[in-house]
Symmetry: C2
Subunit: 341 residues, 2 copies
């Protein structure tokens, strides 16, 4: 039988996590007091603003426990927060982790979740500075607060897109949700764990380095991550900026994986690109003359493809899709809505 939380108790677990962090985790810049007191503390750098975000994963709601390993679960929970800091143009620095765990949870699983956190934080020399562990009799949850920094005046908002701006997107949105659709429509899940679209859901990538580079370049007007899906988050940009958008359907980035899955699922691949999906790509708007500079800024840190897919318009809140025959179709951003009937 593997060791459980009941065997070592809350303080035993905290001690184990502390040792794991000391051994395997980077120590973030500026930390003046880490884990072990009532609060942690850090010394902010002059010339920087502090960014702060939090996101929570609940078993059964945000992930399927049978289809994700504890290590990947930890990675995923941290990636969704790193993505939020990156979408503001920031660099992640300090994480606080709040876990709701059952008494029969295995200690090795909790350690694997923490290794997942560390795996995502170490490349930024970011570290866990605090948190708490709570007993729950119900579904496991992971709530992370991530603190970062951004150069003063370089903060990238979703509310600053301008009419006639070009709309760019990184990577291939829609992959994660399509992966989930494959899982739920397949009679057998044999071999599906390794499917690239399923992996896009279980181990998503963030674009935080790209986001930092874009912000630093000063050539973009607005930026957001696609955690609510391409259309949902473009909708957030339009709503916050008081603008509209037109997208050219044939320019939407569809890769071979998505095209094959669309054929298998008998669905329109462009719908899959636009749908609600948590892919953590970036949508960027910029004056058309700045597209080349944005591409260069991204290429300097990453080989992710960047696709220009449309323009910002003055039709407030309206998003139109231009079809190959030249006609337009209104599309309605929905985004995730966890409490809808």
């Amino acid at each position: 039988m593997s060791e459980t939380l009941a065997d070592i108790g809350e303080f035993g677990l905290i001690d184990r996590i502390h040792k794991l962090l000391q051994k395997e985790s980077a120590l973030a810049l500026g930390v003046t007091l880490g884990i072990g007191d009532d609060s942690a503390s850090f010394q902010p750098r002059p010339g920087y603003e502090i960014l702060v975000t939090c996101d929570c994963l609940v078993a059964g709601q945000h992930f399927l426990p049978d289809f994700i390993t504890p290590l990947d679960l930890g990675r995923r929970a941290m990636v969704v927060n790193i993505s939020d800091i990156g979408a503001m143009g920031g660099r992640p620095l300090y994480a606080l982790v709040s876990l709701g765990l059952k008494t029969d949870t295995s200690v090795a699983d909790v350690e694997a979740i923490y290794r997942g956190f560390i795996m995502e934080l170490n490349p930024f020399e970011a570290s866990i500075v605090g948190g708490n562990i709570t007993k729950t009799d119900d579904a496991l949850f992971i709530d992370i607060t991530l603190i970062g920094e951004v150069e003063q005046g370089k903060l990238m908002l979703r509310s600053n897109a301008k009419v006639d701006d070009a709309i760019l997107v990184t990577g291939y949105p829609g992959q994660a949700a399509t992966g989930l659709q494959l899982l739920s429509h397949s009679k057998s899940t044999e071999g599906l764990r390794e499917h690239r679209l399923v992996c896009a859901h279980t181990t998503p990538s963030h674009r935080a380095r790209e986001g930092q580079a874009i912000a630093h370049s000063g050539f973009a007007t607005a930026m957001i991550d696609t955690s609510d899906g391409f259309l949902g988050d473009l909708g957030h940009i339009c709503q916050s900026s008081g603008v509209g958008a037109v997208l050219i359907q044939e320019k939407l980035p569809v890769n071979e994986d998505l095209r094959n899955a669309a054929a298998e699922l008998k669905l329109d691949p462009y719908k899959l690109v636009l749908q609600e999906s948590d892919d953590y790509e970036l949508i960027i708007t910029c004056p058309p003359d700045n597209v080349t500079q944005i591409r260069s800024a991204i290429a300097a840190v990453s080989d992710v493809p960047v696709t220009e897919v449309g323009r910002i318009t003055d039709s407030v809140g309206d998003i139109q899709l231009t079809l190959p025959n030249g006609t337009h179709r209104h599309v309605i951003p929905s985004g995730w809505n966890h409490f809808s009937k």
Copy 2:
């Protein structure tokens, strides 16, 4: 039927909370971007360190839903975090709130929880800058990250108590747990909701203003809040500082409420003072010559009683209780351990 989250959806709820905050909440100093983007941001003040803490309440584990109103629940969840910032000598500034809610939760209840947060934050001109709302099919949870500031060099640690220091405590520890014991031992709970000891559990006070004043004075060596109970947290000071302690039993602060409850429960009142209890009082250590200055610093901001209860010793990790007949008894700090068998 009252309106539920299913009726207005996630974005409807976020909109309602946003409006509530705009109308009723203070706006904290330095916020450069509040709710509504991927992250919030703030400009730290020169000459200050940033403090950060998080604490989570889960229904059934940390509170009894039938014995706490949504407003009080919000207050309590915020107080436990304010207490952690205050115990470091800091001032609370920015909160991030992560809620796990069921689809059938009433919107009015969620608004009342937020009013509870605001009620505790407004006196500090602190405000909610972000968060997220998650659907859960299980027990409601509230996870709060609170960010504060402390003057550079004034951070109060638990690890700096010195041999021969005096040990002071604010207020009357043990009240909250005694209130819970009254609830669980009484045949009828009629009238118990208003009992002062039960209220000590449902609507605890923090000592953040006192903590700030103590830190600012520079006369204390160590400080901690009594969220794990008097003995549990004195144990944390001893462990972190590599010292021991001796307590004089007859000096322990017992008020009339606790004395009456002890008689009713047929328990030793001193045990009730020392027990695991979440009262959010402060334990302070300081050189004996500084006791008067500490008392003055606290009296300048508060009328909470301050009691000198013992001394720090060189018996590492050992806490002794001196009984009225002059004999000593070893006492073992336990503190909350949520996963113990």
